[in-house]
Each structure stands twice: as C-alpha cells, then as structure tokens.
C-alpha cells in the first residue's frame, strides 16, 4: 500500500522559551520486508540554530535540533511517501510459554532486536502483579505464545474504553490499567507490561494508522492521528510479531512504522518540550492518504 503522509506538530509556549534542545522521532524508515520510504522531509519553524541526525540504539532515526533565541511556538512538519507491504501472516510456529523461556535463553545477543532488552520494567511499562495476573488469563486459554498474545490483544480491546480525555502522555501502564481506559499509548503500555509479567518480551511501536472514512463520508483533512501498537517476541521462528490492541488486529498494511523501543519514552515524537503539554492529541494533525 502506497501512502502520502503528512504530520504537523504545533507547540505553544505559555511563556516564551529562551532556548531549547529537542530530539524528534517522527520519520518513517525503510524496514526490509515491511515498508519502504520513497521520499521524506522534515522541517521546523522557526528554523533551528543547529540540526543534526543520528540513529538511536533501537535504530530509530532521530533529528536533534537546538534553539538559542527566544521563541513562542514550535512547528514540526514531516511529509513522507511510504510503501507498506507486510508479509501475510504465517501459520503459528511459536512455542508454548515454557518453550519460549528456553528459546530466550538460547539467544546470546545484546543487539537492539534481542529479546533481553524487552523483558524487564521500563518507565511507562513496569511489571505489576495485578497486570500480570490479568494477562495470565490469556495463557490459560491458549496453547502457543502467539495465541496468548493475540488473546491479550483482544481482551484489552474489549475490556478497555477508548477515551482521549482519561489519560495524558505521562500516564503509565498501572494508571491506565486502573482506569480501564485510555488511548493507543495506554492500551499498548498495559499490554507490554502484561506480556513482560508473563516473561514474553514486548516492545512499543510508534507510527501512523490509515483510517478509513465511514461509508459515504469523505476523509477529513488532518483527522488521522499518530498511533502506537505492540510488538512481542514469539520465539526464534516467529520472531517479532506486531499487534494493535486499540483495534483488535495484527499490524497490517494500514500501519506505517516510525520506530520502536521499550515504551513511549524511547520513541516519543519529541522530547525536550513535551514535559508540560496536555493530552497526547494536543496539537497534532496527521494525514495518511492512500495513493492506490
């Protein structure tokens, strides 16, 4: 599926920011076998005093910008043309949970995609006895790890209420779990914490989702949103599989990836200014326009 994507982030500072330094993670990347970036651009208004790019530990592309003069607003605009061609889902080749634990131990690697980085608590997704107990029900109903992950994905979708006002960007898994409500970020954190509690390596994927307008309605400009979903390591054969608990589905050709990490903190679109901003929908507009 070929898309034109446009992201616009806008920040208003209540008081003029004297200077600033930000890391921006909003650029989709080419992921062999999953998606290809044909063209992309990123611009800032006002123009930054310094700008540089680097790849972080999890191979996300980061743009670092520095401001030295006072500014009241910051506008980030990203445009990209991306072709997403995820392979069709294979039949289930994952082991059971005991088998998975053995397989994890057989991976002698600390590379960024090694499961070991995704097993313990992180800032937004700490292992929690209650969330683990909740997740454990999905183990009881299923045989393989992939089935269990799928089941948890479905249960979060049905047990949690989508509510953009219930949480904000700082909400962690436990808080969202108590609320049984939140947005894609919260659904994903709860699922990640639950999977880690069971010993299943789990990470956070940030990106975009194509939304299909209701029949007879036109697509509204800027109505799409940034999105987040979950990836889980389902054994050596199956590797990392991606699930979207907000929509009760596996990641599809409608999911365009920006990057991944242990949780939101590793891939937040911008760090350095978001500290005091409100809810995550804040002032962003996203257009995901299919070209086919």
């Amino acid at each position: 599926m070929l898309y034109n994507i446009r992201l616009h982030l806008h920040y208003d500072y209540a008081r003029s920011a004297a200077a600033g330094r930000h890391h921006v993670r909003v650029m989709p990347q080419t992921l062999p076998g999953v998606q290809r970036v044909i063209a992309s651009s990123l611009s800032f208004e006002p123009a930054s005093a310094e700008r540089s790019e680097f790849m972080d530990f999890f191979s996300n592309s980061v743009t670092s910008i520095v401001y030295r003069n006072p500014h009241e607003t910051l506008d980030v605009t990203m445009t990209a043309r991306v072709n997403v061609t995820r392979p069709p889902l294979m039949f289930d080749v994952s082991p059971d949970i005991a088998g998975l634990k053995k397989e994890i131990r057989s991976v002698w690697s600390i590379a960024a995609d090694a499961p070991h980085h995704f097993l313990t608590s992180s800032k937004h997704a700490a292992i929690d006895p209650d969330i683990t107990a909740y997740a454990a029900l999905s183990l009881a109903n299923t045989k393989t790890v992939t089935e269990a992950v799928n089941d948890l994905n479905r249960r979060i979708y049905s047990d949690f209420k989508y509510d953009g006002d219930a949480t904000d960007v700082r909400t962690n898994a436990r808080q969202a779990f108590d609320l049984k409500a939140g947005v894609c970020q919260d659904f994903s954190h709860v699922m990640i914490a639950g999977l880690r509690g069971l010993g299943i390596p789990a990470g956070y994927v940030s990106g975009f989702l194509r939304t299909i307008p209701a029949p007879g309605k036109v697509r509204l400009e800027g109505a799409d949103a940034m999105h987040a979903w979950v990836r889980a390591w389902c054994g050596r054969e199956a590797g990392w599989l991606e699930f979207d608990p907000t929509n009760n589905m596996a990641a599809s050709n409608d999911h365009i990836t920006i990057g991944c990490g242990r949780d939101y903190a590793d891939v937040s679109p911008i760090v350095g200014v978001l500290k005091t901003s409100g809810s995550q929908e804040g002032k962003q507009s996203v257009d995901v326009i299919p070209l086919e």
């Binding site: 999890f58 670092s64 520095v66 002698w108 690697s109």
Partner: protein, 804 residues
C-alpha cells in the same frame, strides 16, 4: 595461634601488650606465629618511645588539622543530611613494597581486563555472543546505558580512573571485593589522611621510607591533560554540587590539581562541543572528570528528571568531541554478578587466570551455581545480582546465610529457586584486621583497602597507599563511612629511600601560566553575592550596634531615633526588637551558601573564618538580650566580619573572581550608605541622627578631626557621600567600581564592538561624575534614593552581561 608470642616481641611490649588477633582471621601487624610483620616493630617502637601522653597530643594535632582544613563528609540519616568531621584512625596500615607490587601487578591486569570488557559490552558484544556473559545481565541492567551503546570514547578508552576494594583472606591472599569504575571517590580524602597522619607522626614516617602520594596525582593530571585535543580547550572536574556526600573532596582535588570545578549548569553544548559558560564567554572543554553518576549527566537522553546534568552531553560524546573520565556506561563493571564471570572472561579474552582473584561469587541464574549456593547457604552472603554496592555495605539487601532464622532461610531458598537470575551468592569472607588505637591500647579491627589506579600513556599508575576503611567494631558490616567506619592512612614502605614527588614544577620544568579569563559564570555570580551578603551583614550589624547602644542608655523610653530606625530596618527584613535579628542571620547564611558553592576557589582559612562567624551568630541568637548585651555581641560579630574581610583583602589573588567579590561589596555598601543617608540626613530627622550616621559610617573620629565637634548636616553628608578619601563614602564605592569594571573581561560573542566601553562602565562613570560635581547641600533624600537605585541597576547590568 592467636595469642601474641611474648618471647619474640618482648623488647616492644608496651603497645603490643594485650593485642590479640581474632582466631581464624589474618592480622596485618602480627602473623600466624605471633611475630610482628616487617615494619611494624619499628612503628610500634617509635610509638612506645613517644609515650601515651605525647601520643594523645600528637593525635589531637592530626584531628585539629582536619578540622582546620574543613575536611568533612556528608551522611544521610533520618534527620536529613549532616556534615561530619572526617574520622581518622591514627595508626597507619603498613604494607611492604613486596606485597604492594603483588597487588599492583594483579590490579594492572584487572584494570586492563575491565577496559576490554566494557569496550566489548558497548561495542562488538563478543562476550555475550560467545556465551561467556549472559545477555540478561547486560540488557536488563540499569547501568547499561542504551544511548551510549556503540559510541567509542573520544580518547579511545573507557576507563581512566578506577578504584578497587581489597580484603585479605585468612590464608594471606588478597581478594578484590569490588571494582569502582563509575565515579570512585576517596583519592582526595587519602591525601588528607596522609597530611593529617604526617602531622602526628612525621618523624616516624620520615624514617620508614614511606612512598609519597603526589607522584600519582601528577601522573593523573598529566594523563587528563593528554586527552585535550584542542589547545584552547581545558580539562575540568564535574561535581553534582555542594549537597553531594563527597563535595569536599571534589573542591579539594580541583584546588590540588588546578582544574576548574564545574556543575552541570556551568556547561552547555554548542555545535556538538561541551562548553563552559565563563565570564569571558563560552570556552571549550575537552576532558571532564565526572564525579556524578552517568545517568544524571544528560536529561535529554538519560535520566529525564535530572536537574544536575547537561542537555546534549550524550550528543557531544556521539561526536567524540569530549573525553569523560570514566566514559558513560562504565558503571556496569560494578555489577556484583559480573564478579562471577571474570575468571571465564579473563580466560576468553586474555587466555590466563586472574592473578588477583575476586571474592568467590556465584550467579544463581545458572543451575549448577544456584545449587552450590543453596547447598552452602551458611557460608554465603546472598544479594541482588545487579547491585553495585559492596556486599558488606549493603545491609538492607544482602543477607548472611548463617544469620537467618528458619523462616527467612526457607524464604530465601525459595527465592533462589524461583528468581535465581536476580541473585548472587558470595563467600562470606572474614576480612583481616589491622590495629587501631583505643584508649591508649591497640585493638584489632577489620578493614578494607581502597586502591586507586589512574591510566597513563603506558599503562596504569597506582596511588601507593593512602586509604583504608576500618571498622569501629569487629562487625565487618560497619566499615562503610555512612555507617560509622573510620579511615586510616596506608603506608607502603620501602627498604630504601623513596622518590620525593611533588605537584610543584621542577626547576627545569617549563613555566606555564594558566589561560586567564576562565572563571565560570556561576562562580562569579556566587562570589558577587557573597560580597553583597557579607557587606549587608556588616552594614546591618553597624546599625544594630548603634541602636542597641542607645537603647542601653535609655532602656525605658522610646527614643524617636529608634522608632525611625525600626521603620528603616523593617523593609530590609530586620526586626530591631530581636537582639540578633533573623535578617542578620539570613545575610550570613546567604554568604555561607554562596561560599559553599565555590569552595574550590576559597582558601581553607577563609572558609573557617566564615564558618566561625556563622556559628557565632547562630549561637548568639539564642542567648543575647537587647541593649548592652546586643551591643557587645555586635562588636564581636563586626570584629569577625573584619577578620574575614581582612583575609579576603590581604590574601586573595586579584584574579577575576576577586573582582566580582569586590564589586558585590562595593555595590552593597554604596546602596546601604545612600539609603541610610536618605533616611537620617533629612532636615527633619530625629534628634541624634547625625551622630548615629557617623557611627554607622565609622567616621566619628575623622569627622571630629576634619570638621568640628558639632555634627552639621552638610559636613556629615559631605564626609559620607562625597569625600573620595573616606572608604565608607558613596563616591569611594563608585571610584572602586569604576576601576574594577574597567578590569572585567570582555565577553566573546557579546554585543557591541570589543573595543567600545561596556554599558555598565559608562553607567558607573556617569553616576560617579554626577555625584562628584554635586554639593553636599544638593543631596536631598530623593537624590540619594535615586543614587541607591542607580547603584542597584549596576548590579543588574553586571548580572545581565556575565551571568545570564
């Protein structure tokens, strides 16, 4: 055999009498056969010769030195944080040269191994790939810093300064109990241990060929400087700030080595380079000896709630423009579970066994090792696998298997079975003992030796001795300073004369003057404020003394003058009804606080004087009563203030920092004098106002000599506002400010042409001229208020130019 063999040691029975090493534990002074080890005979003989009385005097001298030098460390307890005097154990620990060379050879090998391990963990990952090191010990380790993985240190090496904690086994073998690679402390305290011990025992140490410590610091300083790439750039020490437990040491070492002492807010990253904000603009830093834990170094990429870091630091590392001592991420080498894998890693990387073994450690994530620990629980200390504390400093999380009650024991066994990956077992070691002096006798106490290593171009240089932590009791868990241990000097003794290293340049060394104009802006700001607070305290104390003297003369009637002064002082936060007003205490506290943040730029004498002043004021506040008592108290306070000012004025080198201090004083004095004149030199001022002004202005005698006995309004105004020879007059302050402003550095990158006069210089010139051409009769309260306001504006201009 634990009883000392009296036959062999009869000649030095004195201090040795009754010294009984513990059974089954090695002792540093007495060997298993009861004979004294090399060197101790001479030490004990000398101590006996001195005799208990003189010894007590000598040890008191050592303590007094530490007190005078202001050596303290901070402890944290339920009452918050407190400064404690450094607890010196007066008897040095002796290590002979042969033992010492065994230790340093083993540690050289170990330091090289640690370097290879950390380079691999953050680089190739071969140790994990080859199955030598379990991946989860790295990936789930809080000391594994993902953002710096893959970054090669600018100078090529991760480790430049390490410490090792050593203990001696009952069989005499030295063990490494832990490696300190994050930001090891203690090197400065070791120096102070040495100086203090030498105060007490200089004659003995001179005769025993004790290796000197200075050579080590010289090597380390040279090696830090060798990491500088840009000749314009500097090396500096980065401290978390005055609240850190070892801040004293940071300031001390900075002074000793001649490096700037910086805090995170002194630094900024521009175009990928770390820069220090100085009063002359941004200056590059190539090398930072960081005394803060890595996670706090950069809120942008590491701990996001760190207030003491520098945003962009990791970005600078990524560009390889700055060397950190040690590299970020090196703390992972302190992980306790790593000790279990060192033997295998040594074989894998260096194809040999470790010459100096670690304390036996088993990671319970492996089946065989877990079983070993569970089967021998009585001989084990069990604690968190990823802990970076030494087992005996970690009483909360680390337990002794033999001390558990049956219930705790079965709980631990269950935890080991279920969560073995999170735990390590370590052999419960019996540390060897060394003598301490208790009530005129020697008694054995367990100790840990801390050995410092610094990298130089060909390998590692070791501080020969200096630092052992000794328990106050026989409990090995109480060695940690935080829990009440003491510190002893360590003498590495040689058979022949030792090299006399010093940090002073040798005669044939090239003369090198430091690059001027590198005063950090924060230090300048603190100096200025210290000057202001000291002057504010002095001005307040002068007024208070004058008031209380009058109150003492007429305690029962409310003089209009005193009412006047009560009103004057109130908006300044000073309550005339309190003998020692809170406002006065606040000024002194403010001076202390500012001085505390720049201790590296402050002489120990100056610090002591200020400390003494603060103690005095706080003590007075509880006991002094208004009137005569308060008058006398103010005289004492003023004398102490004069003492402090004298120290600063007579002894402080006129570098840029001194100018900021002086500017602070002059500005404050100018404002105070203008304000008090505006109040008391009015036409309608209360009776006695002019006499009081002369007293406040310390000008009674001068006025009498120059004018007449009668204090006229005009003559007083002339003397206190316009007389350029009176050091308390307003114009005198403006004169001084004019001079100092002209000598301030020009900020690079500032606005305006470099050659043109800075705005504040123009302002002070204008103000000075205005006042100089004024007649005393023209100085109305309004004019004087305006003068005070304009002098205050000078402070703002300085602040905007240099501190913003």
């Amino acid at each position: 055999m634990s009883q000392v063999n009296k036959a062999k040691t009869r000649s030095i029975a004195g201090l040795l009498a009754g010294y009984t090493p513990l059974p089954g534990v090695a002792d540093e002074m007495v060997d298993a056969a009861g004979a004294l080890r090399p060197g101790w005979g001479k030490l004990l003989g000398s101590l006996d010769e001195i005799g208990p009385e003189k010894l007590a005097t000598r040890f008191a001298r050592a303590n007094q030195y530490l007190l005078d030098a202001g050596v303290f460390y901070r402890v944290y307890d339920e009452n918050g944080t407190q400064e404690r005097q450094w607890p010196l154990a007066h008897i040095p620990l002796l290590i002979n040269e042969q033992d010492w060379s065994t230790i340093t050879a083993g540690l050289t090998e170990r330091a090289d191994l640690l370097e290879d391990i950390v380079a691999d963990i953050y680089g190739e990952g071969k140790l994990v790939r080859d199955g030598v090191l379990p991946p989860d010990l790295i990936a789930s380790n809080p000391e594994f810093l993902h953002p710096v993985a893959g970054i090669k240190p600018a100078g090529g090496r991760f480790l430049h300064f390490c410490a090792f904690e050593l203990g001696r086994a009952p069989n005499g073998q030295w063990w490494v109990l832990g490696d300190r690679t994050q930001a090891p402390s203690g090197a400065g305290f070791a120096l102070e241990n040495r100086v203090a011990t030498t105060r007490a025992l200089s004659d003995i140490s001179a005769s025993m060929n004790v290796h000197r410590l200075a050579g080590f610091f010289k090597d380390f300083r040279d090696s830090m400087q060798s990491l500088i790439i840009d000749p314009q750039a500097r090396a500096a020490i980065l401290t978390p700030g005055p609240n850190n437990e070892t801040y004293f040491e940071h300031a001390y070492i900075a002074r000793y080595l001649g490096f700037m002492l910086l805090e995170g807010e002194d630094l900024t990253v521009a175009k990928g380079r770390v820069m220090v904000r100085t009063v002359s603009g941004l200056k590059p830093i190539d090398v930072l000896w960081r005394r803060m834990d890595a996670a706090y170094m950069d809120p942008l990429e590491l701990k996001s709630d760190s207030w003491i870091g520098t945003p962009g630091m990791v970005g600078a590392l990524r560009r390889r423009t700055v060397s950190l001592v040690n590299a970020l991420g090196s703390g992972i080498l302190e992980t306790r579970a790593l000790l279990a894998f060192l033997p295998a890693i040594s074989k894998a990387l260096h194809e040999r066994d470790l010459a100096l073994p670690s304390i036996a450690t088993w990671w319970c994530g492996q089946e065989k090792e877990r079983k070993h620990v569970m089967d021998r629980l009585d001989q084990m200390m069990v604690g968190p696998a990823l802990s970076t504390r030494l087992p005996f400093e970690d009483v909360r999380a680390t337990v002794l298997g033999s001390k558990l009650d049956p219930e705790a024991r079965s709980q631990l066994l269950e935890r080991l079975q279920n969560d073995g990956r999170g735990l390590v077992g370590q052999e419960a070691v019996k540390l060897s003992t060394t003598p301490v002096y208790v009530d005129g006798k020697l008694e054995p106490r367990p100790f840990v030796l801390r050995v410092f290593a610094a990298r130089h171009k060909d390998g590692w240089s070791f501080m020969p001795g200096g630092f052992a932590r000794v328990g106050f009791t026989l409990d090995t868990a109480a060695i940690a300073m935080q829990r009440g241990g003491q510190a002893a000097d360590v003498w590495v003794t040689s058979k022949g004369p030792v090299a006399k290293d010093t940090l002073l340049p040798r005669e044939d060394d090239l003369f090198q003057r430091n690059v001027p104009g590198t005063l950090p802006a924060r230090a300048a700001e603190n100096l200025l404020w210290m000057g202001r607070y000291i002057e504010r305290a002095e001005g307040t104390a002068r007024i208070l003394r004058a008031c209380h003297a009058r109150f003492a003369e007429a305690p029962n009637q409310e003089l209009p003058l005193l009412t006047e002064m009560r009103d004057y002082l109130k908006p300044l936060g000073v309550d005339l009804d309190q003998a020692i007003p809170k406002g006065l205490q606040r000024s002194i506290d403010g001076a202390m606080l500012s001085a505390g943040r720049i201790r590296d730029r402050f002489s120990p004498d100056g610090w002591l004087a200020l400390h003494d002043l603060s103690k005095t004021v706080h003590r007075f506040s509880d006991v002094v009563t208004p009137g005569d008592d308060a008058t006398r108290a103010m005289t004492i306070i003023l004398r102490k203030l004069a003492g402090f000012s004298g120290l600063v004025h007579e002894n402080m080198y006129r570098f840029t920092g001194w100018r900021f201090l002086e500017i602070g004083r002059r500005i404050e004095r100018g404002i105070q004098m203008a304000s008090v004149l505006a109040r008391l030199a009015r036409h309608d001022a209360a009776e006695g106002s002019l006499e009081m002004l002369l007293e406040i202005g310390d000008s009674v005698m001068t006025h009498r000599r120059q004018y007449s006995v009668y204090s006229g309004r005009i003559s007083v105004l002339d003397l206190l506002a316009l007389d350029p020879l009176n050091p308390r007059s307003i114009i005198f302050q403006l004169d001084a400010l004019k001079t100092e402003f002209g000598l301030l550095p020009v900020r690079e990158g500032g606005r305006g042409a470099v050659t043109s006069m800075q705005t504040f210089s123009k302002d002070v010139l204008r103000l000075h001229t205005q006042l100089a051409i004024s007649e005393a009769g023209e100085l109305t309260p309004e004019t004087l208020h305006k003068v005070a306001f304009d002098i205050g504006a000078l402070a703002d201009a300085i602040s905007d130019t240099y501190f913003a």
